[in-house]
């Protein structure tokens, strides 16, 4: 994942194939090791980066947006009480529970699990996965410092208009 400075002061997040592969591998491993139902790796703005397990049965787009909203709201609470950040959140349900962890202040690792495992095991495995994700994200930050080619520089007005033809 790469964050580049923009002309208007905005930043852009770019994910390249290698990094997604590594994050996917961490998610798959965490899914197996924790015996969770599904794993989502979501960026703090609500975009899904990778998923594992039964994620295909879920509305991951909506989940990602809500998870990011939830983390943003909790971050707002932290700021108000002068706490740096709440790095973890846990929502306990009757059937399914959700464990969320913020990694490197940039991505949210979401684990959905049921009675097939325990919260203790999930927390333990999440700790290990967090270290691995931190390593990947660190590599990514290094890569972001190297300028990359903008593949969208070639987009024409016609390309943009074509999107709205329906």
């Amino acid at each position: 994942m790469q964050e580049t400075s923009a002309l208007n002061g905005l930043t852009q997040t770019v994910m390249y194939v290698d990094e997604v592969k590594q994050i996917q591998a961490v998610s798959d491993r965490l899914h197996q090791d924790s015996r969770a139902r599904a794993i989502l790796v979501v960026d703090k703005n609500g975009q899904l980066i990778a998923s594992a397990g039964a994620a295909s049965e879920l509305d991951t787009t909506s989940l990602s947006s809500l998870v990011a909203g939830n983390v943003a709201a909790t971050g707002g609470i932290a700021k108000l009480i002068e706490e740096e950040e709440f790095t973890g959140q846990y929502h306990e349900g009757k059937g399914i529970s959700v464990h969320m962890t913020i990694v490197s202040r940039r991505v949210i690792l979401v684990v959905l699990f049921d009675k097939n495992t325990t919260h203790g095991l999930v927390r333990l495995r999440v700790k290990k996965a967090t270290v691995e994700l931190e390593r990947v994200l660190e590599e990514v930050t290094k890569k972001a410092k190297t300028p990359q080619v903008n593949v969208f520089a070639e987009i024409t007005d016609a390309d943009i208009d074509n999107l709205f033809n329906d």
């Binding site: 002309l7 208007n8 997604v20 947006s65 909203g69 707002g76 074509n162 709205f164």
Partner: protein
């Protein structure tokens, strides 16, 4: 903040509908949701109070098709318009790629419009953004109501920088897609510049 995923070949952009309470932000999203083909939209999520006032945000994911082999998706958000939900509004502006300001055309809502627009500038500045440098358009909503202010007057008051502006009646859909298209185009044009 646009999100480009080379692995899934997707571009995701975040558009935020901003404006005073009851100006029609949610109605814009509802109309877009109702008129979009099922395969081009996700679920619309509304985090609202029991009286259907937006509490945190509405969210609608749209898929517009492919551009240079990349699937183009827009995530549409609204903010809660009521003054006291300012902390939530600030959070929703995080990572925004384009803003639509929905103004309520009624004379009695002019102060609310001005206040909300100032609030937008302040909240963007808090996140390190400048409204004048962002893809941005204005919609004058509720043009069907009796006590509306003439568009020229609204424009003079709310649109000094002459960004694209649209008349609308969001309940019947007039101007809704024109506004969305204009904003989406600006965002994609910005992407081309390398932002």
């Amino acid at each position: 903040m646009s999100f480009i995923n080379y692995s899934s070949r997707e571009i995701n952009c975040k558009l935020v509908y901003y404006g005073p309470g009851l100006c029609g932000k949610t109605t814009n999203l509802q109309y877009i949701y109702n008129k979009t083909k099922p395969d081009a939209k996700g679920k619309m999520i509304s985090l609202a109070t029991e009286t259907e006032r937006t509490l945190f945000f509405d969210f609608l994911p749209l898929s517009l098709g492919e551009i240079r082999g990349f699937r183009t998706r827009f995530h549409l958000y609204t903010v809660p318009g009521q003054v006291f939900y300012d902390a939530s509004r600030k959070l929703i502006l995080k990572g925004v790629d384009g803003v639509c300001f929905v103004a309520d055309s009624q004379l009695e809502r002019m102060e609310a419009n001005i206040e909300s627009l100032e609030n937008l500038r302040e909240n963007l500045a808090d996140q390190g953004y400048e409204l004048d440098k962002l893809p941005y358009c204005i919609q004058y909503n509720k043009r069907d109501l009796p006590s509306v202010v003439p568009v020229e007057e609204l424009s003079e008051l709310l649109n000094p920088t002459r960004v694209p502006e649209f008349d609308a009646v969001a309940t019947t859909g007039i101007g809704v897609f024109d506004t969305l298209k204009a904003l989406a185009k600006q965002v994609l044009t910005e992407l081309r510049k390398g932002s």
